[in-house]
């Protein structure tokens, strides 16, 4: 996994609540057996005027000029600011894969759906929960200033604004450690093989039916 330490980048606004993972990456793209290449189909139904299917040459498709990410001022954005319950619905990890492939490394919102939130950390994306009023301030700043940038420092747990005081944020200590170091969870868990075996031995006595005949 790609480590996340600091990030300075343009902020793009996704000004609607309950953005679901079906919207982030529509179902037809889930047929892929690969982990990469989802970026061109991020927000496909909103982003293009035609209906997208896997295998299409996306560069030839007509973009929806009204969709926020198609506006010139948000090109190259690496931070997405969103509304409440971002990433709700399906557990598809294709959603963070698509966001990451497009270039987003951090998402700021008042709340996230649980599974999506977990999936972000597995893919080098930092989801940041901030108070609704602070998120609103960021939205207003993004709308008011073209090329508005934020600087995120994960170690210090701060967001630096061009104008105004720094914003602090919370992050789970274990997830922070993994993200800062780009660590693979599986490798870490496999360091606890003895604990897992001990649990299984104990459990086989307590609940043998869970371990087959």
């Amino acid at each position: 996994m790609q480590a996340f330490t600091t990030l300075k980048g343009i902020v793009a606004p996704m000004d609607r609540s309950n953005v679901d993972t079906d919207a982030i990456i529509p179902k037809q793209f889930l047929k892929s057996i690969k982990r990469s290449g989802f970026g061109p189909n991020l927000f496909d139904e909103w982003r293009y005027l035609d209906h997208g299917e896997p295998g299409m040459d996306n560069s030839q498709r007509q973009l929806n000029p009204d969709f926020v990410l198609n506006q010139a001022r948000y090109q190259g954005a690496s931070i997405l600011v969103a509304r409440k319950n971002f990433g709700c619905g399906s557990s598809r990890e294709h959603a963070p894969w698509a966001l990451e492939d497009y270039g987003f490394r951090a998402i700021i919102a008042p709340s996230f759906a649980d599974i999506f939130f977990n999936n972000c950390f597995k893919n080098g994306i930092l989801p940041i929960v901030l108070d609704e009023t602070v998120v609103e301030e960021i939205f207003q700043a993004v709308f008011a200033h073209e090329g508005y940038e934020l600087e995120i420092d994960l170690q210090a747990q701060t967001i630096t604004r061009p104008v105004g005081s720094n914003i602090g944020f919370e992050v789970d200590s274990f997830r922070k450690y993994c993200l800062l170091n780009g660590l693979d969870d599986i490798g870490l868990t496999l360091q606890k093989v003895d604990d897992i075996r001990a649990y299984e031995s104990r459990r086989k006595v307590e609940a043998p039916w869970l371990f087959g005949a």
Binding site: S91, F174, G212
Partner: protein
């Protein structure tokens, strides 16, 4: 020991190790796998040269991509076909039990596992699918995970987790005639909202929940995720235990008494602490119909399409208007006047035998209305289909003009050929009315099987 909730008990009994910061390694008893969220996990295992920790804990089936029409020709879409074949190959390579497309036990992963007795009380159960919450109906801790976590469970039998808070949703009293488990859960989501359960594991309790069959409890827990909850669950009772007895994966006869004794404890203790309690009166719930593009946008059949102008929260009003625009609805229209183009009876929410019986009861001796272009009945598994056919339900549906299909996820998410065309309006027994969920531009109204069947017969929503 202090009084504990059902969730506390399930959590405590699966802790391998807890770190100082509260991060725990949680042991997983059952892992369900389908074709969409697993290929990248198997690829990850291969690249790292890792093996499966406990292959017998895994049960696989293809469900999202499979055709619901004649399967003798295979899958025509080459991309879908490759995904299903990849699952077959991965199961073969890693020696995983798979109910393949031509196996009668194949079906929607959340239908087949309980049906086989592979979902048991006291288990932790995961799947790369958000509707894994379904299995909580058995007094199990069940939740959806992403593909990285699928790989993690395959390799380690564990997940790194933090404990959620406890919520109890109590539904007391007797639901009026025509009000089903689906109406109860839609009413709950209408009450607490799609993020109302975020950060919580929810226990559904109260007399209206206890009186539900296992099928009904599964419908309720299935949609716990639509309320944002990590998991939904129902305490174990005789209904749970009777359902499991004799199923292929149920404990053997000699282990049965010990298992039942352990399961009897899978209830919240008297006086256990819940961080939040929500109360609903079942007698006040009417048949529900969603009107918007989020499951929380729901009213009863007796209501009208809500008016954004009457909403004081400006952001919310804007969202309501956007939903009405997408749905092609006008505020103030009685729900019972809304006509439908298609009807879908199926999905992991409502494709079990009880659901099909409820729909057949309405359809019997009737005809699908002329304005309804297509009415699909998609059983949740090959075994549900066989049971329905043994009861003659398929004949009722076919005579009424419904299409009787092969099992799978089908038009719930339209990854196969079953889908809505732009602008088409559907009465659907599925779980998500998101924009484009059932096909780009499609308009979904979430309802119970009885309401879906009634909409097919009358051509519009109606009192059931």
């Amino acid at each position: 020991m202090a009084a504990r909730t059902l969730y506390d008990k399930l959590w405590d009994s699966h802790i391998v190790k807890t770190e100082e910061d509260g991060t725990s390694l949680l042991y997983i008893d059952r892992h369900l796998v389908h074709e969409v969220t697993s290929p990248q996990a198997f690829e990850g295992l291969r690249l790292a040269g890792r093996k499966l920790w406990r292959v017998e804990s895994v049960l696989a089936t293809p469900d999202h991509n499979v055709p619901t029409t004649d399967r003798s020709q295979g899958i025509s879409d080459p991309i879908s076909r490759l995904q299903v074949e990849t699952l077959d190959q991965n199961c073969l390579d890693f020696a995983i039990t798979e109910f393949g497309m031509d196996d009668q036990r194949q079906g929607i992963v959340h239908v087949i596992s309980p049906e086989q007795g592979a979902t048991l009380p006291g288990m932790t159960l995961v799947c790369g699918d958000s509707h894994t919450s379904t299995h909580g109906a058995f007094g199990a801790l069940a939740f959806g995970i992403g593909t990285s976590e699928v790989e993690h469970v395959l390799a380690t039998q564990c997940l790194i987790q933090k404990k959620s808070k406890n919520m109890q949703i109590r539904v007391e009293g007797r639901a009026p005639a025509g009000v089903t488990a689906k109406d109860i859960i839609l009413a709950i989501i209408g009450e607490i909202g799609t993020a109302g359960g975020t950060g919580y594991a929810v226990e559904f309790a109260g007399s209206a929940i206890q009186s539900l069959s296992m099928e009904g409890r599964m419908s309720v827990c299935n949609m716990a995720i639509e309320a944002g909850a990590r998991a939904g669950m129902v305490a174990v009772d005789d209904i749970t235990i009777d359902y499991i007895k004799g199923r292929p994966y149920a404990p053997s006869e000699d282990q049965w008494p010990q298992a039942v004794l352990a399961w009897r404890d899978l209830v919240s203790d008297e006086g256990a602490f819940f961080d939040k309690v929500v109360n609903l009166d079942a007698s006040q719930i009417q048949p529900q119909v969603t009107w918007g593009t989020s499951p929380e946008m729901v009213v009863s059949i007796n209501d009208r399409v809500p008016d954004p102008a009457e909403e004081s929260d400006a952001v919310k009003a804007e969202g309501m208007q956007a939903a009405l625009d997408y749905m092609g609805l006008t505020a103030g229209t009685p729900m019972s006047k809304i006509k439908v183009d298609k009807v879908f009876i199926g999905s992991c929410t409502n494709s079990r035998i009880e659901d099909l019986r409820a729909a057949a009861l309405i359809a019997k001796g009737q005809k699908v209305a002329a304005n309804v272009k297509q009415a699909l009945v998609v059983p949740g598994s090959g075994l549900v289909k066989a049971q329905a056919e043994a009861e003659g339900l398929h004949e009722i549906f076919i005579e009424a003009g419904f299409e009787w299909r092969e099992p799978g996820c089908s038009m719930c998410l339209a990854m196969n050929a079953d889908r809505l065309e732009p602008g088409e309006r559907c009465a659907s027994t599925s779980n998500r009315n998101f924009q484009g969920r059932q096909g780009q531009g499609g308009r979904t109204h979430l309802v119970s099987p009885a309401m879906a069947a009634a909409a097919a017969i009358h051509g519009h929503f109606t009192q059931v």
